[in-house]
Amino acid sequence: MAVVLARPARAVAPTQEAPWVRRLLIGVVLLLLAVLVGAPLVVVFAEALREGWLVAVASLGDEDARSAILLTLAVAGVAVPLNAVFGIAAAWALTKFHWRGKALLLTLIDLPFSVSPVVAGLCIVLLFGANSLVGGWLVASGYPIVFAVPGIVLATMFITFPFVARELVPLMTEQGKSEEEAALTLGASGWRTFRTVTLPNIRWALLYGVLLCNARAMGEFGAVAVVSGKIRGQTATMPIMIEMLYNEYQGIAAFSMAALLTLLALLTLALKSFLEWRHADQLRATGRH
């Protein structure tokens, strides 16, 4: 004890690392992140703009490129709202009631995280492909799923399935159900309770989940590659188009489309950081995976 008291006042606190260690660790982290994350980001734009803005933008105006962009927007426009509805329903069922099978449902919701996107695509082909019982009937009735847009939507939904639910479940568990019960006691209908009590409580977490879900949905490649059939102008999404252009040595066109998706990713990150900064208290999920 006496020894501790005798120490000079400006010594390193015992619960901190020495200043040189801190500087070293910060330096290592910055360097590795610049190499691993920063460099790929820069290279996308550098390759896209290799022959200037005009060439890059012109390549995006190509008919197939435009149809790929529209398809990606359309697929996300269907898959993301459906997954949001699923997320809200699952979170409501899991957090407002006590029932058997909750743990099982939680596990099943997380299942897509441990399945390879390619395997997910394979599963959809096996269920809905022209050779399967269901798929054969659907094809005969004129509603093909695989190698058509519905299959792409299904594959995208599979991959992004847990995103919204995983943001909402922890938050709604924490919030409990007393506010809803109060509203119901005061005579509000179930739907009105949800709209005026629950929804305002979860809106930022919902937006956060939708944001992540959308980023992943627009960028999904492996599962879509298996089910899409890669028909140019029909079932080629933006990531599929990137692969085709890249394999045809159309570097600038491939990287221009990649740059467009990268801008979307950067926008997603900016909005996500904004939400984390502005509404941290209403996003219990912050910092969690």
Partner: protein
């Protein structure tokens, strides 16, 4: 207020409506999108039968692809375990200019489409790329179209997992614990190793498992940089795609079943280690 509400809840276990509707939507969508497709895979595997499945798996090309996928995923997840811990520690404990930007950059691999990451990394590490050229000229190392390239792609993809699981746990550590350890005469390194690290172990394992699961199945970021040489740099998901393109559905199913089986076995082992480590930390 809260007491009366609790009283109400006790009287009637679920005064909240919408159970049927919410469970109905949940189960319908879950079945249609996830369970039935996975069921179709398992059903197909059952129809093919274990002998034939093993026959497909037990071929040099399939075995090499499976071994490569799991080996590379393990290498990348181990790298991310160490780097992710370091990154989380620096982000929570240190203050430096640009910290917010670094924190946001950690999530880029989540947000960036895998195909974009794949062609970007290939452009960087190709023999004439910004990193590839100096690596080749100065060190004689080739990264693109080798297994090292696959490691790089999987490290990129798995980067956020450990950071994001460990970060909140570090933030919750109470300073007093470290102070007590220091007061009792432990050096900083001893405190970190014997006091802090055990507290982080469950979160580290969770992040490791997530990164590993993601890396094993990864396809988009790998196929561009891997070179895809059979027996050498051909990953298991790519072999599934190749089998499908040959309309060899049984072959694809066999590889998928092998991947699922090994993945679940690995996750089970990690879960058991986690339970054990929680018990160890709770006991001490």
């Amino acid at each position: 207020m809260s007491a009366s509400v609790r009283g109400l809840a006790l009287r009637s276990p679920s005064p909240i409506p919408g159970w049927g509707l919410s469970v109905g939507i949940t189960v319908t969508l879950l079945s249609l999108v996830v369970l039935l497709p996975i069921g179709a895979l398992i059903l197909r595997a059952a129809q093919v039968g274990p002998v034939e499945l093993w026959d497909v798996i037990n071929r040099p090309r399939t075995l090499a692809a499976l071994l490569l996928s799991f080996r590379a995923a393990l290498v990348a997840a181990l790298f991310n375990l160490v780097f992710g811990l370091l990154l989380a520690w620096v982000l929570v404990r240190y203050r430096f200019p640009g910290r917010g930007l670094v924190d946001a950059a950690v999530d880029l691999p989540f947000a960036l489409p895998t195909a974009v990451a794949g062609i970007a990394l290939t452009a960087l590490y190709a023999p004439n790329g910004a990193f590839g050229a100096p690596l080749r000229d100065w060190f004689g190392v080739q990264v693109a179209y080798t297994e090292v390239g696959i490691w790089i792609a999987l490290i990129f993809v798995g980067l956020p997992f450990v950071v994001r699981t460990v970060q909140p746990v570090i933030a919750e550590i109470e300073k007093e614990v470290e102070e007590v350890s220091a007061t009792l005469g432990a050096s900083r390194l001893t405190t970190l190793r014997r006091v802090v690290l055990p507290m982080l172990l469950p979160a580290l394992l969770t992040g490791f498992a997530l990164a590993l699961a993601r890396a094993v199945g990864e396809y988009g970021s790998v196929i561009f940089i891997a070179g895809n040489i059979p027996l050498v740099t051909e990953i298991a998901p790519l072999l599934i795609v190749i089998r499908l393109e040959e309309f060899d559905y049984d072959g694809a199913v066999a590889i998928a079943i092998a991947m699922l089986g090994i993945s679940f076995a690995m996750l089970l082992v990690i879960n058991l280690i986690q339970v054990w480590s929680r018990r160890m930390t709770a006991g001490s």
